[in-house]
């Protein structure tokens, strides 16, 4: 490592390095950003949830969208798998069913970025995943 010779250098390095622990930073204040949970019980994985999970993690990172992606167990919507639940800051959770890579892309661009509701929402059964 070369020596850091100015405050600007230090700032630049910091910005680069911050990516490395963004995952942790985001976990620190989940309330302030979108939280995405991917149903990844055996059935979910079988229906391609893993692929969706990887896509979300990588794309959000690439597109510089602050969001926390976690996996969770069975969401109880087996009929619509793969399912993901998205919670925007200050809003109630919304669950999307039959999620494909394309759908996931749409969810990122429209719902997470702009708050536009899109098709594929599963009617809420008044329960969040953690309950």
């Amino acid at each position: 490592m070369a020596k850091i010779t100015s405050l600007n250098d230090l700032r630049k390095i910091k910005d680069d390095l911050q990516e490395k622990i963004r995952l942790r930073e985001n976990a620190e204040s989940p309330e302030s950003m979108a939280q995405i949970k991917v149903g990844m019980a055996t059935s979910g994985i079988a229906s391609g949830a893993k692929e969706i999970f990887n896509f979300l993690v990588e794309e959000l990172d690439k597109r510089n969208v602050s969001a926390v992606v976690t996996q969770t167990g069975d969401m109880g919507y087996s009929y619509a798998e793969p399912t993901i639940e998205v919670t925007l800051p200050g809003q109630d959770p919304v669950v999307f069913g039959y999620v494909t890579v394309d759908k996931a892309d749409e969810i990122i661009e429209k719902y997470i970025r702009n708050g536009e509701l899109i098709e594929g929402i599963i009617p809420a059964n008044y329960k969040t995943i953690d309950d």
């Binding site: 010779t5 230090l10 390095l17 995952l23 976690t70 996996q71 167990g73």
Partner: protein, 597 residues
């Protein structure tokens, strides 16, 4: 670069290491490799999470799952269930002692809810052996700001404005101290970090050094800039091998990056840091004693003035601050004095780290805003008293502090309130006691410590504390008189009034505060020859409960002094005058017929 989907944070602090957190790391990495998840999951060794009671802790991010008391054998399950299947390992989750519900996320645990972490901000979050992680969390940014955008006086003013006071015990305004040191002209000046933490039951400084060493290095450099010192010394206990190792790594890394050394960040400011080792003397927490120790002398305090700011290490102006104080400095410069001073009480700003221990459910290291009440700390963060017992007292400030009781529970904790109540902030030890703790014995415990640690230089501390201890010992043995209680009081006050250094001046506090708050308990020992808490064995008697005794003679046969008599199959009797209170009879009795009262 791989984008990890999970970070597994594992506490590598001394407490968790003692419970084999290294073994957990090895097992986790092995599992990860076997399952081919090297690019998805990253294992990070961090500093202390604070929740030592439940260590070792493994925290899974991004979902903030908090696994407690993990063993290396649990690694496979965590990987298989949590990482691969997305199911939390229920049995490793924290159980709320009241609701008995599992709580997965640390944010919802009472232990963390009331905490604001400033000094501990990076502990349990970054890998302390990795400067990159520290930089990504703003390390050296405050130093950069100070060097390029502020004059030394502006930095001092900012610290003064923040209201930061020394966290080592004295509570002296830090900015003022820096200003004194900056005003004394000399060819050489020193910044000293006091890491000779010695309060029995306090380990916040060690946790900071183990968890976030760079913040201390950075703050020392900032201090050096304000006072015109190019040399820093960290006086650290030799009994802290892990902290020493991490500091050495941190210093090397900072030098490599040019954040210590010559022309830091392209300015003409030079600063470097060396370690000095303490050798087991509590009194070296006192700054003049510390300086003598660094000079290779006996760690005896000397009279102030002259203050170290005028004549310190090697006779040069020296500024001494403790670890926690330094750890608060960089954030103040980055977030501003106003932000810092918005936290806390009128005269005590910011947060304070406490080491919570004793008869409490959640033993650990916590950081709360000044002004938090003892009740919040003990019952909300600490989770209340262990085993459902009754709260009796909390000892704050270590050997310099006092015991506070029920009536003080709603006192907002800050420097001045604690002193007003007869205790001290000290370095932040907080020991909770329950109904089984005898307050005379507790006072004796602390005096034993002070007698052991007194340097012996001044009469009141050398002989006075010994005499205090002896009187307390007499009382716990049932040999005390009311005159002894008067003597305790007078001697305590004289020691407070005449001892040379802070250690001596505060050493009678445990006695005075227990005399004040538990006078009846002292009197019970003296006049009734009884220990209400049932802790002083000399005042206890073994007694045979007649209705339970079947006359098996097991106790009589075992008694080493043959003081138990009785017919076979008839209730037995203990001759109290001959009994040596060894407890053998109670061990031998199979019928619960022997009690200790």
């Amino acid at each position: 670069m791989a984008t990890f989907k999970y970070h597994l944070l594992i506490c590598g602090g001394t407490g968790c290491k003692a419970s084999d957190s290294d073994g957990i790391i090895t097992s986790l990495n092995k599992e990860i490799k076997e399952k081919g998840l090297e690019n998805d999951v990253k294992v990070v060794t961090t500093g202390c999470f604070g929740f030592c009671e439940k260590g070792p802790i493994v925290k899974v991010l991004p979902d903030n799952t908090f696994y407690t008391q993990v063993t290396p054998g649990d690694a496979a399950e965590i990987i298989q269930e949590h990482i691969i299947k997305g199911r939390k390992v229920e049995r490793l989750l924290y159980t709320d002692p009241e609701t008995e519900n599992h709580i997965a996320d640390s944010k919802h645990m009472g232990f963390y809810q009331k905490q604001i972490r400033i000094a501990l901000r990076n502990c349990g979050f970054i890998d302390p052996e990795n400067l990159d992680e520290a930089i990504s969390r703003d390390a050296y940014m405050a130093l950069g700001k100070a060097l390029t955008e502020m004059t030394p006086q502006e930095v001092i003013d900012e610290i003064k404005k923040s209201g930061l006071r020394g966290r080592g015990g004295g509570g002296f305004p830090t900015g003022l101290k820096w200003e004194f040191a900056s005003k004394n002209e000399a060819d050489q000046k020193y910044v000293v970090c006091n890491a000779d933490e010695g309060d029995p039951g306090a380990f916040m400084d060690r946790s900071i050094l183990e968890g976030d060493p760079h913040t201390v290095l950075e703050a020392m450099a900032i201090c050096g800039y304000t006072m015109g010192a190019d040399k820093g010394l960290i006086y650290i206990r030799a009994e802290y091998p892990l902290a020493i190792k991490r500091l050495k790594i941190a210093i090397d890394q900072a030098r490599e990056y040019g954040l210590l050394g010559k022309n830091i960040l392209g300015t003409d400011f030079n600063f470097d840091i060396e370690l000095r080792y303490g050798a087991g003397a509590f009194v070296c927490g006192e700054e003049t004693a510390l300086i003598h120790s660094m000079e290779g002398e006996r760690g005896e305090p000397t009279f102030k003035p002259p203050f170290p700011a005028e004549s310190g290490y090697n006779g040069k102006p020296t500024n001494v601050n403790n670890v926690e104080t330094f750890a608060s400095v960089p954030v103040i410069l980055l977030k501003g004095a106003d932000w810092f001073s918005s936290i806390g009480t009128e005269k005590s700003k910011g947060t304070k780290v406490f080491a919570l221990a004793g008869k409490i459910n959640n033993v650990g290291l916590i950081e709360v805003p000044m002004g938090t009440t003892l009740r919040e700390v003990i019952f909300e963060i600490g989770g209340g008293i262990k085993d459902g017992k009754k709260f009796k007292a909390v000892q704050t400030g270590g050997p310099s502090g006092g015991c506070l009781t029920e009536k003080h529970l709603d006192t907002p904790i800050d420097f001045d309130n604690l002193i007003a109540e007869g205790s001290m902030m000290g370095s932040g030890g907080m020991i909770v006691m329950d109904e089984d703790d005898c307050m005379v014995s507790v006072a004796k415990f602390y005096l034993d410590f002070t007698v052991e640690e007194s340097c012996g230089k001044c009469t009141p501390c050398r002989i006075g504390n010994k005499r205090l201890y002896e009187i307390l010992d007499k009382i716990t043995k049932g040999e005390g008189t009311m005159e002894d209680l008067d003597n305790l009081k007078n001697l305590s006050n004289v020691i407070k009034d005449t001892a040379l250094c802070g250690l001596g001046q505060t050493s009678p506090n445990p006695v005075l505060s227990t005399l004040d708050n538990f006078w009846d308990e002292y009197v019970a020992h003296v006049t009734d020859k009884k220990c209400p808490a049932g802790a002083c064995t000399d005042l206890m008697n073994y007694n045979i409960i007649e209705e339970n005794c079947v006359g098996c003679t097991a106790c009589a046969r075992a008694c080493p002094v043959n003081c138990i008599t009785g017919e076979r199959k008839m209730p037995h009797h203990i001759d109290q005058a001959a009994c040596i209170k060894c407890g053998t009879c109670m061990e031998k009795c199979k019928f619960n017929a022997i009690e200790l009262i």
